[in-house]
Amino acid sequence: MRMFERVRNARFWPMLWKEFIQMRRDRLMLAMMTGLPAVQLILFGYAIQTEVRHLPTVVLDESRTAESRALIAVVGNTGNFDIVGAVADRVALRHAIEQGIAHAGLVIPPDFERDIKRGRTAHAQMIVDAADPQSSAAAISGAQLSAAARNTAITSTRVRTQPPLEMSVRPWYNPEQLSSVFIVPGVIGVLLTITMTLITSTAIVRERERGTLEQLIVTPIGKPSLMLGKLVPFVVVGFVQMTVVLGLGDLVFQIPNVGSLWLLYVLTIPFIVASLGVGLLISTIARNQVQAMQVSFFFMLPNILLSGYIFPRVAMPVPAQWIGLLLPLTYYLNIIRGILLKGIGFANLWRPTVSLIVFAIVIFTISVKRFSKTIE
């Protein structure tokens, strides 16, 4: 009963009430909170396609035989190449690549079919614009795939045997290998990081700038209510954003969503607390709103690049991987992808969870101490 009275009369309620009114009236903040999920989802869900397909390709076929046409068909069928035209000679091929009409050129020499018929190794060439390593990787693997396919076909007709070995690949969790399936769950993590650090820290710094923080300290509100009242609204906003993106991810991007949503929401809490700790820390470092924004963006950059949000962490140099281990987002991405895409339970997620909890406790303790000092 006493407990209930204390909760009802807690001075943190008016803070909460006023914070929600302010959020509703602050158009920029409102736009950041509602527009950001939409923009992030479109940008990162649609625009970022890390798989490279349909490279425009020209063909220089000097052989003009059944064998050369069979090879061209196979190359086209890999899906990595789009045959956009034929060229007459190597000069024309070079022009096509230099002008950007083509990113790859398939060269089949005159003696291609003759070599095959005689049982000699026939040579074809795939010229690749490798300025962009990601698309060249796709071209290289596509070229090798086509050659292997033709080899098997030719050998089996010649010798009439089955190939001695075949490796079949089963892509689990994301069978169509869509980058949106990989990216969209990460959007939730990035959004929560932005809300808890950038938006929260600027909101706190604004109170200091306008003198309302000083005014509040003179009232009997007390530090715990002051901090709770200031932070809890952003936790609510974070969960709303998360729910919206989960819904859109399901509707628009057909994210598998195979795991327990309850578990996901529960394991999001330590991540939110850790990120709020960072936001609070930024508010104690920044002297004004502009600085708070700059520091937050500075913090966002490694989060986007090194957490595994877009670029796989296994591909990074070891020091970059270490830095990634200092970011709460890295652990949260393991959790959210594990639950949404793989449907795994807590038994397989306790490691990142424990890391997040440790991070949350450490950073929140530090920032609460620093914050308390700034208001004395």
Partner: protein, 256 residues
């Protein structure tokens, strides 16, 4: 010094003894301050910029911890019972501490609730309060759209919604027009008549002369305290403004 009327004699509103504040880096902002403010008094704290006025107010409100000495506010020690003091005082700073994106009523409601007013009691009280300062017509206007004078009135209303025993005003009339200043002082006297003790810092000499008692700070020290007449007598100057200029001249002389 003026005699304290009997109804106000039940303890002083502020008593400081050897109050001292040293900032990190060694700057002594306030040193050896002995100050007594009687209950129900309108007390002015004067001094050139950097003389320690704001630091003193901030220590009395619990915004800064004193480095040494003792300060009692409405009968409680600032070092020990800051929480009790907070429920009994009001504070208005130069920045006003208003939320620009809340309306007049929302600002008042917010501060009243933070001070523990709830329910019907609060609604009725706030209606009265708004009527008194004549801001009822603007209740739905955003505080950010108010003129300087109205902002100042609203800030005073927010700082006094819980009927504090003691009110601290740190340069409350900086940057408002003379009419608004006059109206503001009228409200201060009304508050004082009802028993609220008021401590005000100011640069305006006409305002200083409206205070019942004054204290002059200079270079972190209290150098004079008393009624306007006593101060003028002490410094052998015709007006408070002359005292002020004389003090500033001495400061500069000491610095040179």
């Amino acid at each position: 010094m003026t005699a304290v009327p009997p109804e106000q004699a039940k303890g002083d509103a502020v008593v400081t003894t050897a109050l001292r504040k040293v900032f990190p880096g060694g700057f002594v902002a306030v040193d050896h301050l002995d100050l007594t403010i009687h209950r129900g008094e309108v007390f002015g704290l004067l001094g050139p910029n950097g003389s320690g006025k704001t630091t003193t107010i901030r220590m009395l409100c619990g915004l800064l911890k004193p480095t040494g000495g003792r300060a009692m506010v409405v009968g409680h020690d600032v070092a020990i019972e800051a929480e009790v003091i907070r429920t009994k005082i009001g504070y208005m700073s130069q920045k006003y501490g208003l939320y620009d994106d809340l309306t007049v009523y929302e600002n008042l409601r917010f501060y009243a609730t933070v001070y523990g007013l709830h329910g019907k009691n609060r609604a009725a009280h706030l209606e009265d309060h708004m009527a008194q300062i004549g801001i009822t017509d603007r209740r739905n206007q955003l505080a950010g759209n108010l003129s300087g004078g109205w902002k100042q009135r609203l800030a005073l209303a927010c700082a006094t919604a819980h009927e504090p025993e003691m009110l601290f005003l740190d340069e409350p009339t900086a940057g408002v027009d003379p009419a608004a200043r006059r109206a503001f002082w009228k409200s201060i006297y009304t508050l004082a008549e009802r028993g609220t003790t008021v401590l005000v810092t100011t640069h305006y000499m006409d305002e200083a002369e409206r205070c019942q008692r004054l204290a002059f700070l200079s270079r972190s020290h209290l150098i004079a305290i008393g009624t306007v007449a006593e101060i003028l007598e002490h410094f052998k100057q015709p007006t408070i403004e002359d005292v002020f200029i004389e003090l500033q001249r001495r400061d500069e002389g000491a610095a040179a």
